[in-house]
Symmetry: C2
Subunit: 502 residues, 2 copies
């Protein structure tokens, strides 16, 4: 037993080291790497992935894990060892369902597909990417036969990102969500305030944008000894070690607050990463988030529920006005609060406002389902995309870059990933409502720029669990119910009906 335990902890430790190395290779590629380094970098990343994969699928590891899970041995384990070996067994059994040859096949296919996706974007034409997408969909279907979860085949894809989530649940939640989002949007569109609103076009210097980001980071007590902010094309968060979490932003976007809100978003992810269980769970399968949806709930929570909240700006507007140039300071708080929450249906997901964002996600979810079940052909994607976005948001792409080519996820074979963005938004609203119930003084604290109790509450109710429970169980324990888009809709109605005097 002792030998097996030592073995499985040693292997998890090494996997954690590989994960950190892989994260550094990725971080550097997106931030500082000279462009000609890319071909060697691809080989460096591939080698680390292969070594980690070999370790995860090694028979020796599984044999030891199985031994530890045998009834008599298991009963003798300490409580935390039980939790680790149970989780690890489940993970390994899933991974071992997938043949190595399949991993190689999908890796080669997605490498070519990514290049084709970039070329298709350059040519603004989906059909350069279509044959690759067809291959990927065939592989995704093959993957589903290996994992073979009950119910809809797509459940096997969802499970990689959101363990236990099913098409049945999502169809129900997303149908409600879509119907209500469109309803709210329609009401807003007919409001006087919407019809009078103009795009906000003031610019803010990079220097001032940096000041705003750094002010917030400092306010959140993120220590320089464990955390960095750098620049990349697309903002992201990555963990390079247990005490080394890095986020990125981009200061060049036209929206003057893009960097500020993306920093807050990534800070939400970073706080979660830095608070994952350590001590007996350090470098084990437990010290991770149980789902992408729950991770996204942390970033959306800070970005939307906190930092687009009126109470936040009561505190932050005086700070903001000291940092930014005069052209901003003539705007009254009420007006400013409206500006940063302006609803404006648009074509690009990553630029969408808080209200319309989830319609972009639902569209992709619906397309993915139809593709996986052969209800539609790949060649039909652009037309169906354009039709759907017209129906949901009333806007129409001028070309495929504004439509079906905008996101890279499909080129990487990440089917089942998109829904987690909406799940995160729904969870965030559920958490915010629960927080306000548990701590009615929260809004006052926000108005005073005091976020400490919120951070502690998230640590206690979300972060500390790591993968000791599924996301669903964590949310149920905290909020008294699982995924519930009614809570999100009620939050959005409260907010936007007030904003647009409806």
């Amino acid at each position: 037993m002792k030998e097996s335990l030592e073995y499985v902890y040693k292997e998890q430790k090494e996997l954690s080291i590989y994960s950190g190395i892989g994260a550094l290779l990725g971080w550097d590629q997106m931030t500082y790497m000279p462009s000609d380094g890319s071909s060697d970098r691809a080989e460096q990343t591939a080698l680390i992935s292969r070594l980690a994969h070999e370790k995860t699928t090694a028979d020796a590891l599984y044999d030891h894990v199985r031994k530890l899970n045998e009834t008599i041995t298991f009963a003798q384990l300490k409580e935390h060892d039980k939790l680790v070996v149970t989780r690890l067994k489940k993970d390994l059994e899933k991974t071992r369902k997938i043949p190595s040859a399949f991993i190689e096949k999908i890796s080669k296919t997605t490498t070519l597909a990514y290049q084709a996706w970039e070329e298709a974007r350059a040519k603004k034409n989906f059909y350069h990417f279509a044959p690759h997408l067809e291959k990927i969909i065939e592989l995704e279907k093959e993957y589903c036969t290996y994992i073979n979860l009950p119910g809809h085949p797509y459940n096997s894809l969802l499970d990689d990102y959101e363990e236990g989530m099913t098409v049945d649940i999502l169809k129900k939640e997303f149908t409600y969500l879509r119907k209500n989002l469109i309803e709210i949007l329609d009401k807003i569109k007919t409001s006087t305030l919407f019809q009078k609103q103009k795009p906000f076009q003031k610019t803010l210097s990079i220097e001032n944008q940096k000041k705003l980001c750094n002010y917030f980071i400092k306010k959140m007590n993120l220590s320089k000894t464990k955390f960095r902010l750098d620049v990349s094309t697309h903002p992201f968060t990555t963990s390079i070690g247990n005490n080394d979490v890095r986020i990125t932003t981009n200061f060049e976007r036209k929206n003057p607050l893009f960097s500020f809100y993306s920093t807050i978003h990534e800070v939400g992810h970073a706080l979660y990463e830095l608070n994952l269980p350590q001590n007996e769970y350090k470098d084990t399968v437990i010290s991770d988030s149980p789902s992408l949806g729950l991770h996204e709930s942390q970033s959306r929570f800070w970005e939307n529920m906190i930092a687009r909240n009126k109470h936040f700006w009561v505190f932050f507007y005086p700070v903001f006005q000291k940092i930014v140039p005069k052209k901003f300071t003539t705007i009254a708080l009420d007006q400013w609060y409206r500006i940063i929450n302006q609803v404006q249906p648009s074509l690009i997901r990553v630029e969408a406002d808080e209200l319309t964002y989830c319609l972009h996600i639902i569209l992709r979810f619906e397309l993915e389902l139809m593709l996986i079940t052969d209800e539609i052909k790949v060649a039909e994607v652009p037309d169906i995309w354009d039709q759907k976005i017209q129906n949901y948001l009333g806007v129409r792409p001028h070309n495929d870059v504004e439509g079906a080519l905008q996101d890279m996820h499909w080129s990487g074979g990440s089917f089942g990933y998109f829904p987690t963005y909406a799940i995160g938004s729904i969870y965030a609203a559920q958490l915010f409502q629960t927080l306000l119930k548990h701590h009615p003084d929260t809004l006052q604290n926000i108005e005073q720029g005091d976020f400490a109790s919120i951070i502690t509450w998230l640590q206690n109710n979300i972060h500390q669990y790591g993968r000791l429970m599924t996301a669903d169980d964590i949310i149920k324990t905290c909020c008294g119910e699982g995924l519930n888009s009614q809570r999100y809709i009620s939050y959005l109605k409260d907010k936007y009906y007030t904003l647009y005097n409806i």
Copy 2:
């Protein structure tokens, strides 16, 4: 044969990938890593080192290499394959002399020794480090018994950094060098100009320092797609991929030109790295420098022979004066040339001027020899150090941080490393004299800021060979003779006797 060839190229390729990953881990640690990342980073680095070591010492690799080196097989190989497998066999046979247990022992010992060295520095007391140094010296002696080269035991240490170099050669060269350096220094000390000279104490903003560095980098045609300049405590150069070489500098030192000259120094290393043989030699044991001394010759060449040359400043002074503030621009070129070449005996190697630098090296070489042959005890090091530096330079440390604790090399077990700094300086002078003979228009080109023909000459005479020859053979081929400190002394006399009107 085909199978063996494929195998050895595949393994060299993977070793090259490991090397790049290791380099990135090191680069990040010295530049951007949040400080709390250090304990995970140590484990990441150790894992990559272990994997690379296992690959290098694997029996399968050696078996294939041996097969390829068998007479009949070898005869059938292509020319470049012959060179690769010959070089590889030599490397592996050396590595395989060292027991794995020894590698582990020295790795653990140096980890503790490095910590002790840092503590000793904090306490400014050598005796906290002494017991660790004793252990390291015992291990160095053990290492010599494994490698067991003919002649002096220290030859086995030298060979790791400067293949083929011996104590006999160095003793002869360094004796001549020391005697003549002291003689030149004594003459300078009695000169009127030396007695009247004052320390240069003007400061230069970081912004202006950066402008100077970037101007030079651009002038050297170093492409942003293959090269970066970042900041670290101690400047260094590292190769993360065949087309990804990075240097660092430090803008915070008191000397206003420290960052400029350290950048030029590292650019010399970077040019060499970027010009190492590719094509059939890419990712093989050939695509590397044959010795640290030859590598150092490239950095010293640009730093001293070119960028501290009067002709360089004829070109650069007008550029410089446009960048820096007015307080500098009142200085005439002649006076400025004297300032940047001021001789000032001092205690710290890395701050030494061009003339006195090698005396710091010779001192360490002499101490290392005595330690390895038990002529002196570790406990005697501080006293002997202080006495020697008094004899050679006429200055005396106030504490051990200014003396025997100033460099980290011994804590890492790098005995035999220091001499390469002096070898590099000597080689650089030999190369410069040969270049002037081959291309008498060089000084004119420098005056016009045209460095292209110098770069090409270095490519053709040094860089392109990689490890196809030893450093000694490369220098002999180019300069018509091996290491010759008379050339260096004659260069220094020309320069400094003119500077000090002697």
